[in-house]
């Protein structure tokens, strides 16, 4: 039987790799391999997953150096020589084994003020929003993020400056800024223009390269840079 040579991260940040041999199937995902190890080799292996079909965003891990959704990554695509190196997501604290602590990621999501605050009450008449409106088109392009933290893990700036809000939170802020029904649009710009904000981005575009949904956070961040610069010149950022 053909086997895979799998190195799996064990323990917290101070841990190390443990080697496993898992059966190689013709058709298997990296998540299948991790699950096989937990069920057949070491039941104490910790990892996170839920939907297994690329909907929930909880199974992201670092596979052979790149952050990926393990459920949508076929082994044949990443391990041509039968070798897999599986680690938790980079740029985040490690809880145990393959489970990263996403608290900093979600804290920054909140800090970027991407929350929607309705400008009207429920009894007010609805404001018609045309799908062709440029702001709506920009918001639509950014809105499919499922918070998997793959972009956050791929971002060099997050690694270099730990306070940086990162691509996911800023992409969400860009969608919130473009939502004309949103009552806190200026707060969004204020939140993303401080020391930890959008102007840290060096446009490496690793986020866009790695986003499993095909979103372009660099585009969103560039948009925020333009919007905050305009607001600053108009004196709206005080």
């Amino acid at each position: 039987m053909k086997t895979l040579d799998v190195q799996v991260w064990r323990g917290d940040e101070t841990g190390g790799f443990e080697k496993f041999e898992a059966p190689a199937q013709e058709n298997q995902t990296v998540l299948d391999v991790v699950t096989w190890i937990q069920r057949n080799a070491d039941p104490s292996l910790s990892y996170r997953f839920a939907c297994r079909v690329g909907m929930c965003g909880s199974c992201a891990m670092t596979v052979n150096g790149r952050p990926r959704w393990t459920c949508r990554t076929h082994v044949s695509r990443v391990a041509k020589d039968g070798r897999l190196k599986i680690e938790p997501l980079l740029n985040l604290p490690v809880i145990k084994d393959l489970a990263s602590d996403l608290k900093p990621f979600f804290d920054k999501w909140n800090a970027a003020r991407g929350t929607f605050e309705a400008a009207i009450k429920r009894e007010d008449p609805l404001v018609p929003i045309s799908p062709d409106q440029p702001e709506r088109a920009a918001a639509n392009a950014a809105i499919e993020c499922i918070n998997c933290a793959v972009c956050y893990s791929a971002c060099d700036m997050v690694g270099w400056k730990p306070s940086y809000l990162g691509p996911a939170a800023l992409n969400r802020a860009w969608a919130a800024w473009n939502d004309v029904r949103n009552d806190n649009r200026l707060d969004v710009l204020k939140a993303v223009s401080d020391d930890a904000g959008c102007h840290n981005c060096h446009s490496h575009q690793s986020c866009s390269e790695h986003c499993p949904v095909g979103l372009n956070p660099t585009l969103s961040i560039a948009g925020l840079k333009r919007a905050t610069s305009k607001a600053l010149l108009k004196g709206n950022l005080k």
Partner: protein, 113 residues
Amino acid sequence: MMRPTRKHSGYWAFLAHRLSGLGLALFLPLHFLALGTAIQGAAKLNSFLEWTENPLAKFAEIILVILLSAHLTGGLRLLALEFLPWSERQKTWISIGAGISLAAGLAMLFNLI
């Protein structure tokens, strides 16, 4: 070894821009130092200019032109990326920038300019 997440043209463009910038920052004080020799009379500057005719200085000059054009095209690319509406032709821009830098270096090499 380079982190696998960095193996794409956007990161290479960043690296070229940053390293050329550092190179130019190192060159600039030397440039002013050379110009400053003129304060002590034309002869001193002229003797320095004669020294720069040696092959090593000529070679360094070509590298300098490549660094300058790489930093210029890299900077224009960044300005376009961040201040103009997004274009899907990012990678083409990077290639054009790299091409112009190389062409500038080659033009110097063959004394075209």
